[in-house]
């Protein structure tokens, strides 16, 4: 459902994404892993049409994201990094706006909003302005917005960031419950999450894919069978916080 071919993205002379190719099928939950600045968010921004690729192609459900941007965007649900939402709206107003833009009317819109609200547990804050909500609720408003139109493709940038352990658990079960008939990409740097929800994990470092396989296959790469060790052995640590030996 998602086909990415030789994707490159440059910002001036800096190459954020340096040639990524991926295919994500229906039923797959792909976990996008990598250190900060590895190019996870940039890749997601290109899949959803927010940034244009410098090179390469992206096709979502058969729609090229550059040639048929609106068609592609209408089959994608996207939770951007930090879950931005209009602070002066209430969740209900915000979701109604999204429903209208997604072409849902009257009863269909109401049904979709009710379902998304129930799935993300927003009932108690529906009438409060988004700016007054806690980080966890804001994130869930973003989630509700992304799943509102029951999209076949779901892209979520750090969906559990800022949630407490119970909420994390709830979001993971939600993702698992939706995974059967969707293609899902989530980015995370919480390694346990990969094991908990992903059917496949891709580790990227400095804009390139360094590992691609099921969580079990990745674990097999390390003698200790720990995700942390796999992650550390495949990615480059941040130069500034690296502790040099003997210092």
């Amino acid at each position: 459902m998602i086909i990415i071919e030789d994707l490159v993205r440059r910002f001036g002379s800096f190459t954020a994404v340096g040639g990524i190719s991926l295919r994500v099928k229906k039923g797959e939950v792909l976990g996008f892993l990598g250190p900060n600045g590895a190019g996870k968010s940039t890749t997601m921004k290109m899949i959803t049409g927010f940034l244009a690729p410098s090179e390469g192609r992206i096709s979502v459900c058969g729609h090229d994201i550059v040639e048929e941007q609106l068609e592609a965007q209408s089959v994608i649900g996207y939770l951007p990094e930090g879950a931005p939402a209009y602070p002066d709206m209430t969740p209900v107003q915000f979701l109604s706006f999204i429903a209208r833009v997604r072409g849902l009317k009257d009863e269909a819109a109401q049904k979709a909003i009710d379902l998304a609200v129930a799935r993300t547990g927003l009932q108690s804050v529906l009438g409060q302005k988004i700016e007054t909500l806690s980080k966890g609720f804001k994130r869930r408003v973003g989630l509700a917005q992304a799943i509102l139109h029951d999209p076949p493709v779901l892209i979520m940038d750090e969906p559990t960031d800022g949630l407490d352990p119970n909420q994390k658990q709830a979001v993971r079960s939600l993702i698992r419950a939706m995974s059967a008939n969707k293609a899902i990409i989530i980015s995370t740097h919480i390694l346990e999450e990969v094991d908990a929800v992903c059917s496949r994990a891709v580790i990227i470092d400095k804009g390139k894919i360094v590992a691609d396989g099921t969580p079990a296959e990745l674990l097999a790469k390390s003698p200790t069978k720990r995700f942390d060790d796999v992650f550390r052995s495949l990615t480059t640590p941040d130069a500034e916080i690296r502790v040099e030996g003997g210092q």
């Binding site: 910002f11 921004k45 959803t48 049409g49 927010f50 940034l51 244009a52 609106l70 068609e71 965007q73 209408s74 994608i76 996207y78 951007p80 990094e81 930090g82 931005p84 939402a85 209009y86 602070p87 002066d88 709206m89 107003q93 706006f97 999204i98 209208r100 833009v101 997604r102 072409g103 302005k129 917005q145």
Partner: protein
């Protein structure tokens, strides 16, 4: 989905946004107070002893110069600062629909502020028998001119994520459009520029076109001027937003 359905969705969200915060009320109160203060104190409305609103309309370009950029500065700068632009641009909404919807919301809002000056109209009708056709033309011309300022301001707001910069630059650009027909400006060019350039600069003047309408003569050329200025500004606005994808 059709362009206008999406434009309407953006329009409704934006328009409701003005009244969800104190912005609308503060703006309207300041707008009305300054309109009144200028007309009655500086314009010597009563002392003139004439039942007409020329003095009142005469101050509009100068008040708009500061008040309209105060509305337009947030149109795009705020979305870019808060990250909601990423949400908006990954929804299946054409950039032109988003630009048009936001502009129309701001324009209708400024129209409402303008309509609330109706006590002025009531006053002159109570005190004398003015030519209400001329007054109507004045209101229409004033609203058109507000649209011109707004479109320029919206375009400038798209170029920055800083509202202060958007405000200051908009005031300066709008000022140049306002006085470009004035002798101070034209003398500067007359010394060296060919006549057709001087005429072209002079024809961009908001004052010239507004004064023509204010006299009660709605000339097609003045309508075309404001109409095409708005269209051109919004077109550039869309291009600026679109270019950010490839930035």
């Amino acid at each position: 989905m059709s362009f206008w359905i999406l434009t309407n969705a953006v329009f409704r969200r934006e328009f409701a946004g003005y009244f969800a915060t104190p912005v609308a009320y503060v703006f309207i109160v300041i707008f009305l107070l300054s309109m009144g203060a200028f007309t009655f104190y500086f314009g010597q409305f009563f002392q003139s002893g004439r039942a007409e609103l020329d003095v009142f309309f005469g101050f509009h370009p100068w008040l708009y110069l500061f008040l309209i950029p105060a509305i337009s500065m947030r149109l795009w700068a705020e979305e870019q600062k808060s990250g909601t632009i990423e949400l908006l641009m990954t929804l299946p909404v054409p950039v032109t629909a988003a630009v048009t919807g936001k502009f129309l919301a701001a324009w209708v809002f400024s129209g409402i502020a303008l309509l609330l000056t109706f006590p002025m109209w009531a006053t002159v009708n109570f005190l004398g028998s003015p030519d209400n056709g001329v007054i109507l033309a004045g209101y229409f011309g004033s609203w058109l001119m507000a649209g011109g300022y707004l479109a320029i301001g919206s375009c400038i707001s798209a170029m920055t994520n800083n509202q202060v910069i958007a405000f200051v630059v908009s005031v300066v650009v709008c000022f140049m459009f306002t006085i470009s027909g004035h002798n101070i400006v034209l003398d500067f060019f007359q010394a060296w520029a060919p006549v057709f350039i001087v005429n072209a600069i002079s024809s961009f003047s908001f004052l010239t076109h507004f004064n023509a309408i204010m006299d009660g003569v709605i000339d097609l050329r003045d309508l075309v001027f404001f109409g095409s200025l708005i269209a051109l500004s919004l077109f550039i606005n869309s291009v600026v937003i679109d270019l950010k994808r490839a930035d």
